[in-house]
């Protein structure tokens, strides 16, 4: 690849974008220096704010011609540094792509621009009795484009699936500036399922400029049951027992004592404060269906040793019980200056063992951990509490986090269930995949992006980097050469 010609690229971009569409001054660039993983910051070379698909095509072609890397950005709520800028790269913000283009209630589809916020989709279609099911906790802020790029999940994905299961079609601008439609408005499309491949591709394969999502009818009725347990393992077994009983809850979540207390103090949800583990189980459907299942769920939870089992008294109570869970991150955030959120996923039967190990390591590292997670699908979110201003704490936190992720892999799970690899977990990719798989990923990337200009250094490590990490890995800690990411 020829060296990037930044000066020529800058001049060309200024011609291609409308006034105000290219940010160049440090003060304007500053807000883009990080995403939701604020421990990593870097000023981008430039920020482009195109307004039309044609402008995106032209910008991408221009960057390709000048050898300048492109990092796409939606709302910047990502938790793995996927939208972390490059100092010699263009940050391509999709913020101006914020229109809902079409709603097709008969086929239960909505076509939106990628910068539309997740929650705005459900709001726009509510009048038709429909909604968009994937509901990341960040749904008031995160964009649909970012959701697709990360294959975002939420509390309802056990029953209703992840983003990939709820997307019908995508429009993609390739590095060559070509506009492709992947998937379609029917229930399948001919050829390879590239729409599935693009989900979770973290901006490495192309720029999404339009997304058609599938909508579902709003259930008639939803009810939540909360159950308290004296023991985390018991709670984990109870979750498994609910699923084994043939019930598929809309949401099946769990919080440990620290998280429960923090949430209770923050939003006064009405949680029992002394439980070692709290399980929230939501059922939805027709009222008759839900009533029938509620009785069975309550019986299973009691049988499995729950000390308290209670239903929400009314809709307001139900929303309050969920408000506690949804606010768990910020609530835990009040307990320490900083927290670090992990995202490993494990086969559920390892839950007790993994949580016990994390608790032991928490003592060892001297860093408290609160656990809030999607228990139904085994997606853990240990939140490690630390103080970035204390010398060495961030490094200790990252080393602790890396160990948790490697434990998840060792249990047959994965380093990331929904937040993506980004820059954050790139080294743990070396633990999850062998050299042949990583090489295969790079080959797939080259099929889309032969020059390696789309979000380089993210998501998939080079073999050289893994070799380096392998050597350092024994002691944990940060890499001495962060610039290796660029290779």
């Amino acid at each position: 690849m020829p060296a990037a010609d930044l000066r020529a690229c800058d001049a060309a971009l200024r011609r291609l974008l409308p006034a105000g569409g290219l940010l160049r001054e440090e003060a304007e660039l500053r807000p883009y220096e990080c995403d939701g993983l604020s421990a990593y910051r870097r000023l981008p070379w430039r920020v482009a704010l195109p307004e039309t698909v044609e402008q995106v095509q032209a910008v991408v072609r221009c960057c390709r011609d000048h050898g300048v890397p492109v990092v796409a950005r939606g709302a910047g709520t990502g938790l793995s540094g996927g939208a972390l800028p490059l100092e010699d790269g263009l940050l391509l913000s999709l913020a101006k792509f914020n229109r809902i283009l079409a709603i097709d209630p008969d086929n239960r589809l909505a076509t939106v621009e990628p910068g539309v916020r997740n929650l705005a989709v459900s709001e726009a279609v509510a009048g038709h009795g429909l909604y968009y099911a994937p509901d990341p906790s960040s749904q008031i802020a995160c964009s649909i484009g970012g959701n697709v790029a990360e294959n975002a999940g939420g509390v309802h994905c056990l029953k209703y699936g992840l983003t990939v299961n709820n997307v019908a079609a995508l429009k993609l601008v390739t590095l060559d500036g070509e506009l492709l439609t992947l998937g379609g408005r029917a229930l399948d499309a001919p050829g390879y399922d590239l729409a599935a491949l693009l989900n979770g591709s973290e901006g490495l394969l192309g720029i999404l400029v339009e997304v058609t999502v599938r909508l579902l009818p709003v259930p008639d009725y939803a009810q939540v049951v909360i159950a308290a347990f004296d023991d985390v393992q018991q709670a984990g077994d109870a979750v498994a027992a609910v699923l084994a009983a043939g019930i598929l809850p809309a949401g099946l979540e769990m919080m440990d004592t620290l998280a429960t207390r923090a949430a209770e103090d923050f939003v006064h949800a009405g949680y029992p404060a002394d439980a070692a583990a709290l399980v929230l189980c939501e059922l939805d459907g027709s009222r008759a269906e839900v009533e029938a299942q509620l009785e069975r769920v309550e019986a299973v939870l009691r049988e499995r040793g729950a000390t308290t089992v209670r239903r929400a008294r009314d809709e307001a109570d139900r929303l309050r019980l969920w408000a506690g869970r949804k606010a768990a991150f910020p609530a835990v955030g009040r307990l320490a200056p900083d927290y670090y959120c992990m995202d490993g996923t494990i086969p559920r039967h390892h839950l007790g063992r993994v949580l016990a190990t994390i608790a032991r390591w928490s003592e060892e590292y001297g860093l408290p951990v609160a656990n809030v997670f999607h228990a139904g699908d085994g997606n853990l979110h240990p939140l490690i509490l630390y103080d970035a201003n204390q010398p060495g704490e961030l490094e200790r936190t990252e080393a602790f986090g890396a160990r948790i992720l490697e434990l998840c892999v060792a249990c047959g799970g994965t380093i990331t269930g929904e937040h993506g690899v980004g820059v954050e977990k790139i080294d743990q990719m070396c633990a999850q995949f062998g050299a042949a798989e990583l090489e295969q990923f790079h080959a797939v990337k080259r099929a889309f992006d032969p020059q390696g200009l789309l979000n380089p250094g993210k998501a998939v490590p080079t073999l050289a980097r893994c070799a380096e990490y392998g050597r350092l890995h024994v002691h944990g800690g940060r890499l001495p050469h962060p610039e290796l990411e660029r290779f």
């Binding site: 086929n107 070509e178 029917a186 229930l187 399922d193 590239l194 009818p217 990331t416």
Partner: protein, 355 residues
């Protein structure tokens, strides 16, 4: 079962690696139940059927892993014993149907619009790529976004991107009970009713229209179904299971004709297409089976104009099976094929020329 005897990975790997060295095309075969599907392949047969056996199944995890040559029938029997199922209701089309074949063909049964397609249930795969390298993607957990999702990509790729050797799928509890209702309706009214009902929170799980009748399946608890029936009306059909299985496997009398069969996949609420012939609608209108004398271009154009695509499912010109792709999209798919199968030896041409 002698486990080792059913692990043929080493020999499969050697065969693919040798074929790669010699640039010799392979025709990957499972149970042969879907050999009719896709374009013809010339190549040395690579039989995956012997590579069989359940690798892992813990009902409360809602995940099952099996070698690709495992018969679908064995998997379904095991799941049924634990009150679970493959919710995408894969068509068998014959007694030999295997898990790998079902995933490779990417076909789903009547529950598809409500439960999801094969690709929605694939959690992980092990494959041999076109160099004969054994690779694993995805996993045995519900959520996994580490690396590109190459496992879902295998669904519907007809074995052209890799030889599937093992698959992990999400499984679901079987509904407590099911009921099938029948309504007298013409096709247009049936499509309209399906669109209207699908937009309401009803426990629908299948909808088919044929010969003036709309068949609707409900799944859920006794109480839930009773409630839905009160809202919907219709006549109950005895032995609904037999009806839906015959539809899934094309044993329904509609499919008896020896004529070339078209499959049109369109947005479900599309009004009846202006194509003469005998038709049957599945997926609430989303999947339309058609026997017609209309020229291929006309069938494809009708599907395209409705926002979908048409496949020559059985018979007819086997060189021209799938809806042609726009040139830049086909070019990208060819580059992707090369990324996984650089010598182009895996089922070459089964999907499109050059794929």
């Amino acid at each position: 079962m002698n486990e080792a005897a059913h692990d043929k990975l080493d020999s499969l790997r050697d065969q693919v690696a040798q074929a790669f060295e010699a640039r010799r095309p392979l025709a990957v075969t499972g149970g042969g139940s879907k050999a009719f599907y896709g374009r013809p392949v010339e190549g040395e047969p690579l039989a995956v059927t012997g590579h069989r056996g359940i690798l892992d199944y813990e009902p409360s995890e809602l995940v099952l892993s099996a070698r690709a040559g495992t018969p679908l029938a064995d998997i379904e029997a095991l799941l049924a014993g634990h009150g679970q199922m493959l919710a995408f209701e894969p068509p068998h089309f014959g007694p030999g149907a295997t898990l790998g074949g079902a995933v490779a063909c990417g076909l789903s049964g009547p529950r598809r619009p409500w439960a999801g397609a094969v690709r929605d249930f694939v959690l992980g795969v092990s494959i041999l790529n076109g160099r004969g390298e054994p690779l694993s993607f995805g996993g045995r957990v519900m959520k996994n976004v580490a690396g590109y999702d190459l496992s879902r990509l295998m669904a519907g790729a007809l074995g052209t991107l890799g030889v599937l050797t093992a698959v992990s799928v999400k499984v679901l509890p079987r509904p407590e009970t099911e009921a099938t209702l029948v309504f007298e309706r013409d096709a247009a009214a049936a499509i309209e009713a399906c669109a209207r009902w699908s937009a309401r929170p009803l426990p629908l799980s299948a909808a088919c229209h044929h010969a003036g009748r709309l068949y609707l399946r409900l799944s859920g608890s006794e109480r839930g179904i009773r409630g839905a029936r009160e809202q919907l009306g219709g006549e109950a059909l005895n032995d609904g299971d037999a009806f839906w299985t015959s539809l899934r496997d094309h044993r329904h009398p509609f499919f008896d004709a020896g004529r070339p069969l078209w499959r049109l996949s369109v947005p479900p609420a599309s009004p009846p297409l202006a194509l003469a012939g005998d038709g049957l609608l599945d997926w609430g209108g989303g999947q339309r089976w058609l026997y017609t004398d209309a020229p291929a271009e006309q069938v494809r154009e009708a599907a395209r104009a409705a926002g979908g695509h048409a496949t020559r499912f059985r018979g007819g010109d086997r060189g021209d099976v799938f809806q042609p792709l726009p040139a830049p999209l086909l070019a990208l798919q060819r580059r992707l094929k090369q990324a996984l199968d650089p010598a182009g030896i895996l089922n070459p041409g089964r999907l499109y020329e050059g794929l």
